[in-house]
């Protein structure tokens, strides 16, 4: 336990004093500021003279600013935080000859990897929480709306999911830093996996769906085929953690969103009632909608860490 604490403290100090963290933090803070400022301005303009809808405050996070909303920004840029914090965690020590010195101290070997992982998770948590708080404070002055209890809870759930999502990428990069001796190799490998899972899986999903269940763009296809196509597309793209995460968080942050599916087939009566009675979901119901996504996200994070843990424990450390 003491070894774990010592390593945790050292890693945390390293993270917060490293240039790469400061650069990353500055970048994220800047983009979040601009995004939420523009989102705030847009909101203010659109809500001028209109009866205020519910959950205005959350819209600060879900309304696109210039190009993307805050939620979207974290979903594609967040992985980079995890990767940057972990890609050289083990192999840098190996390259400098400090790893064998570390494990020859009276500590258990898992203290090394646990300490590094938890220090990374703590760094991610501090980073995300501070950014969300800063944006909230900023939003208070722009919008002049105080968040309700439900909105605060939703932001809290959003933060928890985000921390798991970024920790997954931290786990991936630690895994690569254990398996690859070269620091550049592990950095490239983790970036490659990030690009593949985040961008190419969704592309592959639509290619696969169109091959298995082709849909005629002119509308000649029956509804069964359209449903099949969408099911395949959505099923395959769930292999991407980014899709898992963005479906989960967009539902949490936007209470009006009642499903993660992009295709909703409705009869004429349903359509009328849906458009006339737009009631938000309660937080509990929103969580129920994205429960599978969240569980999957937590599971892949833990599996990824478990694999690195096992490899590290049986690996021989000579250098």
């Amino acid at each position: 336990m003491t070894g774990l604490l010592a390593i945790y403290r050292k890693e945390l100090a390293d993270h917060f004093s490293s240039y790469r963290f400061i650069i990353l933090f500055a970048l994220i803070a800047m983009v979040s500021f601009i995004t939420s400022y523009m989102a705030g301005m847009n909101l203010k303009e659109n809500l001028e003279g209109v009866a205020k809808p519910k959950f205005v405050f959350l819209m600060l996070f879900s309304t696109p600013g210039a190009l993307f909303s805050m939620v979207q920004f974290v979903s594609f840029f967040g992985p980079l935080i995890g990767l940057v914090l972990g890609f050289d965690s083990i192999n840098r020590e190996r390259a400098h000859g400090t790893l064998v010195k570390l494990v020859s101290q009276p500590i258990y070997r898992d203290a090394v990897i646990n300490g590094k992982f938890f220090a990374g998770v703590t760094t991610i948590t501090i980073l995300l929480v501070s950014i969300v708080l800063v944006i909230s404070g900023f939003g208070l002055t722009i919008l002049g709306v105080v968040p309700g209890i439900e909105e605060i809870w939703r932001l809290f759930v959003y933060l928890v999911i985000s921390i798991f999502y970024i920790s997954f990428w931290l786990g991936v990069s630690i895994l690569f830093s254990i398996s690859f001796k070269g620091i550049a190799t592990s950095a490239l490998a983790s970036v490659a996996l990030w690009i593949f899972l985040s961008f190419f899986v969704s592309m592959g999903a639509s290619v696969l769906a169109n091959t298995v269940a082709p849909v005629d763009q002119k509308g000649g296809t029956g509804p069964e085929m359209v449903i099949k196509n969408t099911r395949i597309k959505e099923g395959v793209s769930l292999f991407s953690p980014m899709v898992l995460y963005s479906s989960a968080t967009s539902t949490i942050v936007n209470p009006m969103q009642k499903t993660t599916s992009s295709l909703i087939l409705m009869g004429p009566m349903e359509r009328i009632s849906a458009s006339r009675f737009q009631n938000p979901l309660s937080l509990g119901q929103s969580i129920v909608v994205v429960y599978p996504h969240v569980v999957a996200l937590v599971a892949i994070t833990l599996i990824c860490f478990a694999i690195s843990y096992i490899i590290f424990m049986i690996q021989e450390i000579r250098m």
Binding site: A6, E93, V100, S104, Q105, P106, E316
Partner: protein
């Protein structure tokens, strides 16, 4: 005085795929001695040290360090044994005191005790004047001495020193060797010294072991080995002559 055995191995073996790095190794080291651990590169010396520390699992045989099995009681063994690896590395952005503080932290040392011990060991290894300099700016000799300071910090009963004088200039090597000798005499630390500098090993060690291709081909005092290899004679043989003789035979 009858000294106690502090390290003992029986048929210690380590296989890597097809290669047998350590082959049924049996030797012992008594408390308070300096044991010179010799052998060509790749003879399996480092692997043996790693097995004695419990960092590598032996394929066969057993080892006892301070009466404990290093595999089962890894943490306890590592508390008593200080290991200075070959080409020891440091965090270049820390200074000597910070490096030692981290080691003290890992050893669960109280802050006040650590502070006192750190200035003491820095004094012992002669780095007190450079304590606030970044380790990245240290010379090789200073780094080796800092490595020894890190080992000393936990008051070890045994020190494993793997090539502590490798790549040092003659003056630096001499300082390290003299430091090892004084630690052995003043603090009664048992030393297992692996080195290629035979002259220095001869100067300070009580007994030597010669390991070639995973086997311990000789283990005794230098005089005894000389007598065994060259017969009874008036002249004393240098360790180098003895070593080469063994090496040519294998």
């Amino acid at each position: 005085m009858v000294s106690e055995t502090i390290i003992e191995t029986t048929d210690l073996t380590k296989n890597y795929d097809r290669l047998r790095a350590v082959d049924r190794l049996s030797f012992r080291i008594d408390e308070g001695e300096i044991f010179g651990f010799l052998g060509p590169n790749g003879a399996g010396k480092t692997t043996t040290l790693l097995m004695l520390l419990g960092l590598t699992q032996p394929s066969g045989g057993s080892a006892r360090v301070c009466g404990m099995d290093p595999l089962r009681k890894a943490k306890e063994v590592k508390r008593l044994v200080g290991y200075l690896p070959e080409n020891v590395g440091f965090y270049g952005d820390l200074n000597a005191v910070e490096s030692l503080n981290y080691v003290a932290d890992l050893n669960d040392m109280h802050k006040d005790v650590a502070k006192e011990k750190i200035s003491e060991v820095l004094e012992v290894v002669g780095l007190a004047g450079d304590a606030r300099k970044k380790v990245g700016d240290y010379s090789r000799g200073m780094k080796q001495r800092l490595g020894i300071a890190e080992v000393l910090l936990k008051d070890p009963k045994v020190m494993f020193l793997d090539e502590p004088t490798l790549g040092l200039d003659p003056d630096g090597a001499l300082r390290v060797i003299e430091l090892i000798q004084s630690l052995n005499q003043d603090r009664k630390i048992t030393v297992l010294l692996s080195s290629h500098h035979l002259y220095q090993v001869q100067k300070i060690s009580n007994r030597v072991g010669i390991m070639i291709k995973g086997k311990m081909v000789a283990e005794d005092s230098i005089e005894a080995l000389g007598r065994e290899k060259f017969g009874l004679g008036e002249e004393r043989y240098t360790l180098e002559e003895i070593y080469m003789k063994y090496f040519q035979e294998v």
